[in-house]
């Protein structure tokens, strides 16, 4: 297991370098230029040249990349091109916890609701409750998050005035974004839980457990859910990834100062240092999620060994 972990950790180095290179090249070869975007209608070649020089953008691409990697190794990600008084490391430190907190809450909600609904659907298979949950799953999967967000804002914030439209800082600011981010994950965690539980319910050991007189809830929690958990855990991992990606919409709509909104702005403004660093953070996050899912397999299923 330790060897496996070391191997996975070592694998992350070429992965990061490759990702950094791809992001770097894509960013620099895309049309547009941070200096001109920044100056906009106040463009002036001399000012632009001075800014370009100060930012080091007049150096050859290869040198810019090597300098970036060299600094990044020491966790110095430089300053934002768009706002030179702002260090990229500080941007990540300030915004990442907000996005992670949001994602964690959404996944927690999705896992709790999804597993509960999935179980309910499996044990009521074919009956009205099951049908109703299935319809809910279908709509949860088909309605995009920006539509859900708009409808929830309309109903809960503008019509009933129960929650703020957007903003950040107070506990009630979390409610709508978390619900929107959890929407789709609830749907597929429900679906996976339902099919996984339904399959386990047909196993012999479930019949044995029942026949030895165990009460239904005990059978369900101790024997069924545990054996049905493997695919569900994978889905929860995916849900976390999904919540991070979904933040690109949710943070913009709800005006949340998280890392996804930073990423969107940085891309539109060609803020190379910020784009590169944020994308490296995302690479690290997804690598970590995958690793966590793999490790949880071994934990949940003794037959899996690395």
């Amino acid at each position: 297991m330790i060897r496996y972990l070391a191997y996975r950790a070592a694998l992350a180095i070429p992965l990061f370098l490759g990702a950094a290179l791809l992001i770097f090249l894509a960013g620099h070869y895309a049309p547009g230029d941070p200096v001109q975007t920044l100056l906009g209608d106040h463009y002036n070649p001399q000012t632009a040249a001075r800014m370009r020089h100060e930012l080091g953008l007049d150096r050859p691409l290869a040198i810019q990349f090597v300098a970036y990697v060299r600094d990044a190794v020491t966790l110095d990600f430089g300053t934002s091109y768009v706002n030179p008084s702002w260090r990229v490391g500080d941007i990540v430190r300030q915004t990442l916890p907000i996005s992670l907190g949001l994602a964690a809450l959404a996944v927690a909600l999705a896992a709790a609701a999804g597993v509960g609904l999935g179980l309910a659907a499996a044990v009521t298979s074919g009956r009205a409750a099951d049908r109703l949950i299935q319809v809910g799953v279908l709509s949860g999967l088909s309605v995009p998050s920006f539509v859900v967000a708009a409808v929830l804002v309309l109903v809960f914030a503008l019509h009933w005035r129960l929650l703020p439209v957007a903003g950040w800082g107070k506990p009630q600011d979390y409610v709508l974004p978390v619900v929107v981010l959890a929407g789709a994950p609830i749907a597929y965690i429900t679906r996976i839980t339902r099919s996984s539980v339904a399959q386990v319910l047909t196993e012999d050991y479930v019949r044995t457990a029942r026949s030895k007189g165990l009460r239904a809830p005990v059978v369900l929690l101790r024997h069924v859910l545990r054996n049905a958990a493997l695919p569900v855990v994978t889905t929860v991992g995916i849900a976390f990834g999904n919540a991070i990606v979904g933040a690109f919409v949710v943070e913009v709509v709800f005006n949340i100062p998280g890392i996804a909104r930073i990423a969107v702005n940085a891309i539109l403004q060609r803020d190379y240092t910020v784009i590169q660093t944020v994308m490296l953070v995302y690479t690290a996050l997804f690598t970590a999620i995958n690793l966590a899912v793999d490790i949880s397999y071994a934990y949940l299923n003794p037959r899996v060994r690395y």
Binding site: P31, G32, P97, A104, A157, P164, V252, P257, N265
Partner: protein, 532 residues
């Protein structure tokens, strides 16, 4: 075990949330004395000499002092200077400073501070974006650019008297340029001690509001300065949350989280029809034009003025203004918009005349032979596209020209525009930075300007601009400018389309708001009060 997994997921989630921390809650709801209006984006800088975007520009106006300013009626009024004298030959301006202007650090503002500030602005190694506008009219500015120790025409007579000697060939619109929101005095101590990012934690200003807090990407908070020279503001706290989406700004206003917002054009009619919101809606003048640029350097046929004029005359501006912009935008016959002193109100421009337009193409020998024309649109707002679609249809119907709209994202659009050799034609706008004719004609059409993005190059026009800048009186100057403007309209490389307006929503409890045709449309909130 599954329960344990679930429990650990929940635990991780909780820890993450606690790690993220609930940021300290800001003021909930509206409190007396607090005024809330959004910024459209994170300001790139708060150094006034580089603050030219729509987020940082208004902040400069709130925290800093200019020598003179425009009031909401477009008249020049005293600001940092209480009065000024002009020598008989019109070349020496003597400003008598108010003696109660203090920097937010407490030090009194003197003429030496103004000299230091303007010399910092003109520092050739700093390359401040606003220097040419403010200082090119002062003698010695050119020499200072080439290494002279000081700007010779900038003189400290005594601590309360500042004298500016004008450059005779570039005297035009001098006071209008001094009223530029960026032409402010800075506290030398703050700038020099603060290093490169000095503006990140405090301001160097003497304006009505003091910098309090900048939570990056989230909000900026200012406080009213009780010592402000022209009387303390009536609001004690100014909250400026950064809200990038116009629709989110609007929703936050409707739900009571904001007190003043701009209305996106697409929502204007809905709001006008809304029984509650229509009472809070108001329209204010705006110095902004939407235009079509025709670039002869890329589209060969545009080298012939008749072809360009034909394009201009095939577009029914009045109809588009009425149907697409529901009369909120008005057809533009001239280039410089209303709100700029000297606006050429009675100029008729090129009429909509499709038959004449066709004839012009025939005379030029290109009728039915023009290659497809691509029109690039500024993607910053949907407005260019709203105007572009009917224009394309009219060019097809009236001239048989295969015109197509081209959409790209903003960074690419600006870079291509600045290259001046990429777009055949483009749809974009220009908003006033300062209220003067030169912000349009000198900047956008003089062949020596880097922002002459349509590549207009008419020596006669350039000569008129020089004459205007050297004109002895403001009225003579405007006469010459009107000549130049008419020439440019007839040459039709810069085809004026529409003049826009501001539409804003303001809560009924907000009193005393004054508007300006520049920037975000409001003057610093010195007279604004919040009565709840």
């Amino acid at each position: 075990m599954a329960q344990r997994t679930l429990a650990s997921i929940l635990a991780v989630a909780l820890v993450a949330v606690i790690a993220a921390g609930w940021p300290s809650a800001s003021a909930v709801g509206q409190v007396a004395g607090t005024f809330r209006t959004p910024l459209g984006g994170e300001p790139a800088t708060l150094d006034p000499y580089f603050s030219v975007d729509s987020s940082s520009g208004p902040l400069t106006a709130l925290m800093y002092t200019t020598l003179v300013a425009f009031d909401s009626g477009g008249r020049l009024v005293p600001a940092g200077a209480r009065s000024w004298d002009i020598s008989p030959n019109g070349l020496i301006y003597t400003f008598h400073l108010r003696d109660n202007v203090k920097f937010h650090g407490g030090r009194k503002v003197t003429a030496a501070d103004w000299k230091w500030s303007f010399e910092r602005m003109g520092d050739p190694t700093l390359k401040a974006l606003v220097a040419d506008v403010v200082l090119s009219g002062v003698t010695g500015y050119d020499a200072y650019q080439k290494g002279a120790a000081e700007i010779a025409g900038l003189k400290v007579v005594d601590p309360q008297t500042l004298q500016l000697v004008l450059n005779p060939s570039h005297r035009g619109g001098f006071l209008n340029r001094l009223a530029y929101y960026a032409a402010v005095v800075l506290d030398k101590d703050v700038v020099e001690k603060g290093g490169k990012g000095w503006f990140g934690t405090r301001d160097a200003g003497s304006g009505p509001f003091i910098f309090k807090e900048w939570v990056h990407n989230s909000r900026i908070t200012l406080a009213g300065d009780p010592n402000f020279a022209q009387g303390p503001p009536k609001i004690s706290r100014l909250e400026l949350p950064i809200v990038t989406e116009a629709s989110t700004q609007l929703s936050e206003y409707v739900s009571g989280q904001l007190d003043l917002v701009q209305v996106p054009l697409a929502d204007f009619q809905r709001i006008k029809a809304d029984p509650v919101l229509s009472k809070e809606l108001f329209v204010a003048p705006r110095a902004q034009i939407l235009f079509l640029g025709l670039n002869a350097r890329v589209y060969e046929a545009f080298k012939d003025a008749r072809v360009r004029r034909a394009i201009a005359m095939a577009i029914d501006r009045a109809k588009i203004a009425q149907t697409v912009f529901f009369g909120f935008y008005r057809p533009a016959n001239s280039i410089v918009p209303p709100g700029i002193p000297g606006f050429y109100a009675d100029y008729k421009g090129l009429p909509y005349d499709p038959a004449q337009a066709k004839k012009l193409l025939e005379e030029a020998g290109v009728a039915g032979k023009l290659p497809p024309l691509r029109i690039a649109m500024n993607p910053f707002t949907p407005i260019a596209q709203m105007a572009g679609e009917p224009i394309v249809a009219m060019l097809r119907a009236n001239l048989g020209l295969d015109a197509q709209l081209e959409k790209t994202e903003f960074s690419n659009f600006i870079a291509s525009l600045n290259k001046r050799t990429v777009y055949q034609s483009f749809l974009t706008g220009w908003s006033a930075d300062y209220l003067d004719y030169s912000d349009y004609l000198d900047l956008l059409l003089d062949s020596r300007s880097v922002l002459d993005r349509v590549n207009y190059n008419n020596p006669e026009f350039d000569k008129l601009i020089d004459q205007a800048n050297a004109a002895p009186t403001e009225s003579r100057r405007i006469e010459i400018y009107h000549k130049a403007e008419a020439l440019a309209v007839q040459d039709a490389q810069f085809v004026p389309l529409f003049f826009s307006q501001f539409a804003m929503l303001k809560k009924p409890y907000v009193q005393g708001l004054e508007t300006t045709p520049m920037l975000s449309g409001w003057l610093p909130f010195t007279r604004v009060s919040v009565q709840k």
